[in-house]
Each structure stands twice: as C-alpha cells, then as structure tokens.
C-alpha cells in the first residue's frame, strides 16, 4: 500500500497506509503500552491501555485498532492519557493478588512494568479480592486465575497460532475466566505457547513454577537439541553443586527462525540433563563381566590402547564408528576425521533419517534452491509432500500456519494420511502410502502409475500456476525419487526445496561426512584430492555402512566399534550378542541398550552442555552455546581428541589449534564457556582469537569452512546468534546409483524424541496424562 505521512508526538512519521498505529509507533521507537495487542494475532481492543488522542476525534482511541492515515495527528502521552492508563491499572490491581514476591512472573511481568511506569500507588477499594485456587490443567500448564488480566493472548495463540483451540473464555462480566475447552483439563499439544505469551503470572509451567526468580538465572541463547527444525531457544540456568542446571527453556528474544515458537520438547524436555541416572563416571568392563567405575585416565588409556592394538594388528577396516544426529558439526566432523586419519577406516555411519546425499546430488550446482526454515514464513505458496509436520517438524508447521494466516499463503499438501495441516491447506491430496514417486511423475505430467482424479488434476493445475513455491518433502522421498522431484520442481518458475529429517543435527551429520562413502561436504572418496593435506592417510575404498558393520560384527570381523551419542542396538533391533566379539566403546549420557553391552563407557555432555554449530534439516547453520554444566561428563569433542592422544596421534593434526602458539591441554572447559561477550564474538568472527586449546571447536570449524565450501558463511552473524544458510550449490557429487540410502525415519511424535525423549520425565508425564496416547518410539 502507498505510504502515508502522519504526526506522532510532534514527529513526522511515514508508514504504509493501513499499518496499525501501534505498530507504526513501535517501529519509530515510540512505545505504546498494550496488554491485549500481540503482533500476528487477531485484534481485541480489550485492555484499553493503548489509548491515544487523535486530533479532531472526541474520544481517546485505541492505537491497536487504528490504521494510520494521511495527515493524522496523534498524541501518545499526555496527562489525560496517563490518567486513563492509570485508571485501568487501578482497576486491574484492585483484584490482583499482588503475590509478586512468589509469582513466577515477578521481574518479568508486564503488569509490574506498566504499574512502574504509570503508577497506581493508592488503593481505592477496601472490598475483598476474589480468590480462586490455582488449577492444574496438564503436566505442563497451571492456571492461577486471580492473576489473569484477561488479555486473551493465550486463547488466541492456542487457537490462531497453534490451531489447537484448547482454551476459551467462560462466563461473562467479572466472572469471565479463561478455561480449557475440555472443561478441567487440556488434551492439547502442550507447547506452552500460552504460558510464554501470558503477560502476567496467570499461566505457569509445571517445570518452572516456584523454582526460581528470573534474575537468579543466566540466560543462554542456543539451539534446541530435539527435532530437525533447530529452533533457537534461550535456556535459563542456575548454579547447583554439580555444575549449572537448566531451569527453563523459552524464547526470549524471538530472533530465531522459529519466531515466537517452541514446542513442548524445546520448551520443557531439557530435564534429561538432570536425571539422577546420568552416567558421570567412566565405566570399564572388568574380567568378571561387570562394569566398574574407573578414573578417566584409566578408561581412556584402556580404550586408546585397545583401539591402537586392533588397528595395528587387524587394520582400520576392522574398526567401525557410529556417530550421532545430536552432536555438533565440529564433533561429527572430528569423529569422521578421527576415524579416517587415526583409525584408518571408512567404516563410518550414523542413523540416517533423510537422504541428504541424494538431495545434495540433485541440487549440486544450483544456487539458491534450498529453503530455509524462514522461507516457510514468507513463501507465497508451499507444497508439503509426505511428513506430518505438526508432529515431526513442529516449528515448520508453526511457520506454515503463520504464513497461511497472516499472508494468505497457499498450502498444498499431499499425504497418505489426513494430517492436521490439511486444515490450512488450500488443496489436499490423499495418496496411497507408496504413491509418492508416482505422484511426482503425475505432477510432472506423466499420468501412468497414478490414479488421477478431478481433485488431483486441480491440485496439479493450481501448483503449476504458482510463480514461487517452496517444496518440503519427508523421508518418504529417497534416492531417485528426490531427483525426479527436484527435476519436476526446477521446471516451475521459482522453486526452493527442503528435505525433512528428524534430529537436531541429522543434516549436519550427513554434511560432515559421517558416511562410509562420502567425505564432509558429500565429497566422494575418489574425489578427495583437496583433502590431502588434512587427511594424509585416507583409506580410498568406501567403508561399511551401519548394517554392514553389524553384519561384520556378527561374523567376527569387527574388532572394535566406537559409538558416539547413538543407540543403534535399540534403533536397528540388533541382537546384542552379535557384538560379543567386538570391543565396544560408547559415549553417552545414559545406560542405553547399546551402552549396556559396551566395554568402555564415557559419560558424555549433551548439546546443552557444549558449544559449536549445528545445521538443521533446512541447512540453516546456527551456533549452539554452552548453557548447562554437569560435573563428571565431557564433551564428545574432548573425548575424541583425548582418545586420539592416547592412541599416540598428534592432536594438532586432528584439531588445527595453536597456530604456533603453545597450548595448554589443561584449560579445556573454559574455552567453551557460555555466552561470549561482544568483543570475543568479534575476535572469533574475524578469526583473530587464538585457538589455544585442542578442545576448541572453532579450531575445527576453521577447517570445516576451509574444506566444505557450503559452510563458508559469515561468521560474524553466526557468532552473533543468527542463522546462516549453507549453500548446497557448492556441492560436487556423483552418487553411485546402487548406493543404499539406509534411511530409517524416526517417526517421532510431538511427545517423543528418540532415546533422548525416553529420558525426559516431562514428556512421559504428558503422554501418561493424555486420553489419546500416541505410539511411543524408540531409540537413537
């Protein structure tokens, strides 16, 4: 719309006609107080805090409902306006319990802030306040009715934002009360969005309530460890006797790709970090068959010796390495480098949940064709093929819903199930479970193999008319199907793609070369020339993949297996006796099914306890920062380096640290401490920070950026907490057509998260409290 010019408090402002006055003012730095207004949600005009005076209009007007108009003259602060706002606060405080000293929101409360600004010092009422007992609506959501100011934000975010519509208003007048539409309980998605958006302490969470005061926490912005969306999250941590503990997950700065959003896992499922059954001491299996706690030195020594011995006697090909979908890029990179250059093996794999290699092959050389998670918030049209994003990619589903609601984006969904996003879809096509490949052919104009109907014809017709489209596809697509999908898409005017895989760093694990045939950046072993300097003794033949490794173990051909942050025994249903002749080293937090049969177990830190980068399934690279700390555990990064050291390898070759500066291997953990100050960010961004420690992940990140061109993004923004998209066009790959994709979708629900999820009490209690229980899934 055309711009209009208007005056606010004597300042001339310009904004597109139709912009809400409150937004226009905020943009110009003029803060207008508001309880009920929330950007992106429907207008309420209920709190009357945002009143302003418009010249020539008799009554005060609400800035949240007034569109700016040419020549408008606005006053946002005056005695009259102040008085009006103060009166509103007096009315609210009249009934407010004022239990701020114990309220969770104390210190972060919008009612407190407004009262601080406009004052309502004198109480005009002597009548008794209404009191109601607090209610628990679900394991996540608690409600303290007297604190509620009825701004209806929770109702709207649940309905409009989440499309769950679990909350409503009951009764009328002064008896009005927010309540679950299911009477006294919630059977909802338990996202906690309602709690987060509540301006006061009326809605509180089961994990956080009465635990702390906000100012007693440190707030660390990092990345969620659960699904492949990679939401930016802020963890509130506090010192405890064995480190520092996460007390809250929320989304304070809202600058991430997920905007306002976090799902239950990002917000509450951090409680696995503090479980008492976490392993905090190295364990080594004794001759009597029992695991016993030993010192770090002994455990490392033992494992290092053993690996060295097997390598030197049976060769690297008798050793296998399994990496993780939740460790950092630096760790994944380091692990495969360790395998390839120290263990001398290409027997490397990880739990693959999407065929990123085929995707990379299909898009090589094509610039600007991968969709960021952000693109789903703005794309005029979206095609979702397969996947149930509401369950498996909650942030993607949120962005899609927001885009449909706010920008009227057109959503096309084809799925074998009637997924929830059907409700936002302009067109929905239900297809047979094995019909995805045929569908792509059909969309491309090849009728054979697909039972076309009027609906599918209209679907195809409408799609082809789209001038700009983002296509997201689930793990239903692999290998050649991905190629044909990309071929079809590239025939449309302006298309971007996203392959949906399951875990926080599933994409990173693939990008970093945790695969038997591909080096970091999907470089085939045969084309590894430029890796020569860093990988002097690279074995040239592809190694064993995940399943082959277990076959080899069963046949007695795998002398050792090194498993980092993965639970293949459970995930692949491996009979543990298959590993009886294999020396098994496991790095994990818990005694998983795989750890239970290990010879050496190293207690490992999780993503919330380390720094580094992770790549979400869309290829968005983000910085994970160390938030929590647990005495006794070490990062996978450190463990890999120490193992290499024990094997007699030169850590400097593995991690290019030091650059001539003598490093002290004792100063390890400090190098990864939590929030960096700005100066440090600048130094790091410009590569001026000396990397004095072999445990500094950024020393490896340097190498990644050097060897994997698609990761060569601006460090400054990355380190400043912004997501940066990697570039798939820089990939060069020729895939062997006979290559097995080995994709095993995790099929997690909103309330599961592989093995990790099994160790979250919060997720468990939510599942137990539900009347309809989604199936539990297993490992990784």
């Amino acid at each position: 719309m055309a711009d209009v010019t208007f005056t606010v408090d004597g300042k001339k402002l310009t904004a597109p006609a139709g912009t809400l006055l409150i937004d226009a003012c905020r943009k110009a730095g003029i803060e207008i107080p508001a309880f009920c207004y929330y950007p992106g949600l429907s207008l309420q005009a209920a709190c009357r805090m945002c009143v302003v005076r418009l010249e020539k209009v008799p009554k005060l007007q609400t800035a949240c409902t007034t569109p700016v108009a040419e020549g408008m003259v606005v006053t946002t602060e005056s005695d009259e306006i102040k008085q009006s706002r103060k009166a509103i606060l007096e009315l609210l405080l009249g009934n407010h319990p004022l239990d701020c000293p114990v309220c969770d929101a104390g210190g972060e409360c919008e009612l407190q802030d407004m009262t601080f600004k406009y004052g309502a010092a004198e109480s005009k009422y002597v009548e008794i306040k209404q009191h109601r007992e607090e209610q628990q609506w679900s394991p996540v959501v608690f409600f303290d009715r007297p604190r509620c100011i009825l701004c209806y934000r929770c109702v709207r975010v649940c309905g409009e934002g989440m499309d769950v519509w679990a909350l409503g208003v009951q009764n009328r007048g002064v008896s009005s009360v927010i309540s679950p539409n299911g009477e006294d309980h919630l059977d909802c998605e338990e996202c906690g969005m309602c709690i987060d958006i509540c301006p006061v302490g009326a809605l509180t969470s089961g994990t956080y309530r009465y635990k702390t005061r906000p100012w007693e926490m440190n707030h660390v912005a990092t990345v969620c460890t659960h699904c492949g969306d990679g939401c930016k999250t802020t963890l509130g941590v506090r010192s405890v006797d064995d480190g520092s503990e996460i007390i809250r997950g929320d989304n304070r700065d809202k600058s991430g790709m997920n905007g306002d959003f976090l799902c239950i896992k990002g917000r509450y499922a951090f409680d696995f970090t503090t479980r008492e059954d976490r392993i905090t001491k190295p364990l080594v299996r004794q001759p009597n068959g029992q695991l016993a706690e030993v010192s770090w030195e002994q455990a490392l020594e033992h494992a290092g010796m053993k690996l060295r011995e097997i390598r030197d006697t049976r060769g690297g090909s008798a050793i296998g390495v399994i990496g993780s979908t939740r460790t950092t890029n630096e760790e994944a990179y380091l692990l495969q480098k360790f395998a390839r250059t120290v263990l001398n093996t290409n027997n490397i794999d990880h739990h693959r949940t999407a065929d990123y290699a085929s995707f990379a092959a299909a898009l090589q050389g094509k610039a600007g064709r991968t969709a960021s998670l952000r693109d789903f918030l703005t794309a005029p049209a979206i095609l979702l093929l397969g996947n149930d994003a509401t369950e498996q990619h909650p942030a993607l589903a949120w962005n899609i819903r927001s885009n449909v609601r706010q920008n009227r984006a057109r959503l096309y969904v084809a799925n074998h199930a009637d997924i929830k996003l059907h409700r936002q879809a302009k067109s929905f096509l239900q297809i047979p479970q094995d019909g995805y490949a045929a569908l792509v052919q059909y969309l491309a104009g090849n009728e054979a193999g697909f039972d076309g109907t009027e609906i599918s014809a209209a679907f195809r017709e409408a799609l082809r008319k789209e001038e700009s489209l983002v296509i997201a596809f689930g793990s239903e697509f692999r290998g050649r199907d991905i190629q044909s999908l990309v071929d079809f898409g590239l025939g449309l005017p302006n298309v971007k793609f996203a392959a949906l895989g399951d875990y926080a760093n599933s994409r990173g694990a693939a990008d970093m070369g945790l695969m038997p045939d591909l080096l970091p950046g999907y470089v085939p072993l045969a084309a590894a020339k430029h890796f020569g300097e860093e990988y002097p003794s690279l074995p040239s033949a592809p190694g064993l993949d995940m399943l082959q490794m277990f076959d080899a173990a069963e046949a007695g051909n795998l002398g050792a297996l090194y498993v980092v942050g993965s639970n293949p025994v459970e995930r692949y249903g491996i009979d543990p006796t298959a590993l009886k002749n294999t020396f098994l080293i496991v790095q994990d937090m818990f005694m998983t099914e795989t750890a239970a049969v290990a010879d050496v177990i190293f207690p490992a830190a999780n993503l919330y306890e380390k720094s580094g980068t992770v790549t979400n399934t869309y290829g968005d690279l983000q910085l994970a920062k160390k938030a929590a700390d647990k005495a006794g555990v070490r990062t996978d990064f450190e463990l890999i380096v120490r193992l290499a050291d024990k094997m007699g390898a030169d850590p400097k070759k593995l991690v290019p640290f030091g650059r001539g500066v003598r490093a002290d291997m004792g100063q390890t953990r400090g190098a990864q401490s939590g929030e960096a100050d700005r100066h440090a960010v600048w130094l790091a961004a410009n590569n001026l920070e000396p990397k004095l420690s072999p445990f500094d992940p950024f020393a490896v990140f340097d190498e990644i950026q050097r060897l994997v061109p698609s990761y060569n993004v601006s460090r400054f923004e990355l380190l400043g907490g912004q997501d940066k998209q990697t570039r798939s066009d820089l990939v060069q790959i020729e895939l062997d057509p006979a290559r097995r994709d080995l994709v095993l979708p995790a099929n997690d629900t909103l309330f599961t998260s592989g093995t990790l999820g099994r160790y979250s009490r919060m997720l468990h209690s939510v599942m137990e409290s539900r009347t309809t229980k989604p199936a539990e899934t297993a490992a990784d």
């Binding site: 207008l43 309420q44 005009a45 209920a46 709190c47 009357r48 009143v51 008799p58 009554k59 005060l60 409902t65 008085q83 009006s84 009166a87 509103i88 009315l91 609210l92 009249g94 009934n95 005009k124 009422y125 002597v126 009548e127 100011i149 009825l150 208003v169 009764n171 009328r172 007048g173 002064v174 008896s175 009005s176």
Partner: protein, 435 residues
C-alpha cells in the same frame, strides 16, 4: 405483561393495530397489511430509501441514527450475501415497547424486514428476540409461517420473482447482545461480545456480509411510512425527529404503560397528563427519561420535549423511550445501586474498564448504601465512573457510568446521608423500587 393503555394525546401509527387481533395474518391484511410491501416491490429500492429518508425516522433502539441513511450505506454490489437483521433484544431496563409489537403486530415486523431487504437487495432477514421473550417466539414463528403460506415470504414473493427468507432466533439472555455487533456474534453462535468497528455492519456484518441491523420498532415503522408517505410521517414529529415513538412510562405514575406519542412531546405532560401523574399525592423526586442508562433528570428539568435533540440539550438522552418516574419515597442511592447491579451483571467482560469498573462500582455503592463508606468514597465512585466514560470497548460501559455520574452529581446529599455507619435512611419506609 404490560396492559394496553390509551390516551387522547396519543398519535397511533405504529400501535394502530394493537389490540385488533392483527397477529392473525388475515386480520393484518384487512388492516392494510402487506400493502406497503407490495408497493415497495413495485416501486423499487430507490423509492423506499427516498421515503425513509423523507420520513426523518431515526433508530428507535436508542442511538437515533437516521434509518434511511443507514440503508443507503449498504453497497449495491456485494460478493457475500446481504442480510437484514432485526434487533428485538429489548433489554434496557424500563423499556417494553418492542414486546408489544411482537405480541400485537408481528406481521409489521415481518413486513418491515421485507421492505428493508428490498431496499438493500438482501434475500434474507433474521428476527432476533431476546432470550427472555421466548414466549413471544411462538407468535413470531406462527406469523412467519403464515406469511410463507400466503407466498409473502419464500420464493417468488407476491409473484414478483423476488425471493426473500425470514428466520427467527432467540438470544440466551444477555443485555450485551442488544449491541448490534454482539448480536451478530450471538446469532452466529458465538459468545455475545461486540466486534471491533470499523468495519461497520453495513459493510461487513452477519457472516461477513453487508448487513442492515435495526431495532424492531424501527423496522415495524417502515411499512407505515411507506403507506402514509415519508413526508406525512415526518410532519407528525419535530424537526429532524420525524414521526411518533412508543414511550413506556413506568414507576410512580397512575397509569403506567406504553403510549405512542409524537416525537418532541413534552415529558412533563407525558408524566402528569398522559400517565396520570404521581399516585398518593407524593412528590416527584426524579425521572430517568430513556431507559436505565440515561442520566437522571430532576423535577425542575422535565419540562422538555421528548426528542433526540431536546433531550441532549437537557444533558440526557432520549434513549429507548423507557421513562421511569421516581417519587420521594425512593432512596436514590439504592436506585443507583439497582442500576449498577444490572450493568455489572450484564457486562460481557470483554474490556477491562467495563468488566472491572462495573464490579467496583457495585461493590462500592453496596457498601455505601449499607453505611460502610466515608466521604472520599463518594468521590471514588464518581472517579471510577468518570474513568470508564468513553474508555470502554462498547457503549455498555458508558451506559453504566453515565447514570452513576448523574446520580452522584444530582443526589450527592443522599449519598452523604448514608456515610459513616448511618446506612439507608429510607430503609424503614421503603416500598419496592420499580425498575
């Protein structure tokens, strides 16, 4: 149920058929029924709107917006269907006029709806009765069914090729849905909470379609205007206040009831002559002139014409035409309390000033009436009410605040008599307050 009353000063236009058995369709037709509708079909929308404009008819719900103008705001072309919506959610305390129309002349409402529909090009009308009027629904439903049977509603009405449907609906008992946008919400099956305006109903109304929403009396007047001609109707009233209106005079008068008086009729005469004055030789203390939300008048202020403009000049409002007469036996604090109790109970609760304000007013006045207040509480009550005025989401907040300010301003001495533990001086001699 108010009985029918009559007085020679009345000018019977809209009440012409009251008591004549016009709820039966044949009788209605005998009494010139559905002639206006047929004329409207013949002469078309422009003619209807011109007559309505000429009549000077202003909305009888209380706001007094010129009806012809309102109808002319509806866009001619619209993608979504247009609707006529009859607001029969008559809930303002002291008001009981629409009730008589539904009871005695239901076809006038149907015919008016049809005329409005013809004027704006709608194919459907809704007649919404307040929940407490459920017993009138049968009468309305029968009338609608009879009209369908005669071919006056439905497909090809009066053989004209025009279709028009009418649906009746009752509320669930909320004063707030008398507000037009809340009424639309209620009719759509949602909570009775008002909508943000703009957009106004004429542009985006019921189910998103352009909608004309009028008070039942306004709608029932339309056929009469077309029959007698807009100008003739306008001549009955005063300038800019065309025609007559039904006034419900209640409280301390000899002959309470609903009277049809020309606009601009003198209030004092209405009380003393038409309604027969105060019974028992008691002195007049106050008059609430247009339903409970209009500011109270003192005896010396009632020599004023009953039209929108003269009442505004007198510092009050014509409102819904419900005149409540209060004699000297009534405690004005209790009257104020009774009034605020109503609004506290009926506030929809959407916005803070109305939801919390009415509640604190009720609590404070309750305490004051019982003797538990001190001097500054009177100022607090006024402060509260004044801070609600003009700040609420819909007019209900004003409707609660306005009379309260009036009571405190004009009867402060009575409030003072209650202070410091004294309590209500009227308690011992109190008769039931008729509201």
């Amino acid at each position: 149920m108010p009985r029918l009353v009559s007085h020679p000063d009345e000018v019977k236009i809209i009440s012409r058929r009251f008591g004549q058995g016009a709820a039966e369709i044949d009788r209605y037709i005998e009494l010139d029924g559905y002639k206006a509708a047929q004329a409207a079909i013949e002469k078309g929308p422009e003619w209807i709107i011109a007559e309505m404009k000429a009549s000077g008819l202003r909305g009888r719900g209380g706001a007094g917006f010129p009806t012809g103008m309102k109808w002319s705001f509806v866009p001619k072309q619209s993608e979504k269907p247009k609707y006529v919506l009859v607001n029969g959610d008559e809930s303002e305390p002291g008001t009981c006029k629409d009730h008589l129309i539904f009871l005695h002349d239901p076809h006038a409402v149907i015919e008016g709806t049809l005329i409005a529909g013809l004027a704006i090009g709608a194919k459907m009308g809704f007649i919404y009765l307040r929940g407490e009027y459920r017993y009138l629904l049968k009468i309305m439903e029968k009338a609608v069914a009879d009209a369908y049977a005669k071919g006056f509603l439905g497909k090809n009405i009066f053989g004209s090729g025009i279709d028009f449907e009418v649906v009746t609906q009752t509320g669930a008992g909320a004063y707030e849905v008398g507000e037009e946008s809340a009424l639309m919400e209620s009719l759509e099956g949602k909570r009775g909470v008002p909508r943000i305006k703009p957009p106004f109903p004429a542009v985006v109304g019921l189910y998103g379609g352009p909608t004309v929403i009028n008070n039942a009396e306004t709608i029932a007047t339309a056929p009469h205007i077309l029959l007698m001609g807009g100008e003739a109707y306008a001549k009955v009233g005063t300038e800019r206040n065309g025609g007559t209106r039904l006034f419900g005079i209640s409280g301390h008068v000899e002959r309470p009831g609903v009277y049809e008086l020309p606009m601009g009729f003198n209030l004092k005469r209405a009380i003393y002559e038409v309604a027969g004055g105060i019974p028992g030789g008691k002195k007049l203390k106050a008059v609430v002139p247009g339903g409970s939300s209009t500011p109270v008048l003192l005896p010396e202020e009632i020599d004023v014409g009953l039209d929108f403009d003269q009442m505004a000049k007198a510092g009050t409002m014509l409102g819904s035409g419900g005149v409540v007469v209060i004699d000297e036996s009534v405690c004005m604090v209790e009257f104020a309390l009774r009034t605020i109790k109503f609004y506290q109970h009926e506030s929809c609760g959407w916005c803070i000033p109305c939801r919390e304000g009415t509640d604190w007013l009720k609590k404070s006045i309750t305490r004051l009436h019982a003797g538990g207040a001190v001097d500054k509480d009177i100022d607090n009550i006024r402060y509260l009410a004044e801070n609600m005025m003009g700040r609420t989401f819909c007019p209900l907040g004003d409707a609660a605040a306005m009379p309260t300010i009036g009571f405190v301003k004009k009867f402060r001495h009575e409030f003072e008599e209650h202070l410091n533990g004294k309590g209500c001086p009227y308690e011992h001699q109190r008769e039931a307050v008729l509201v």
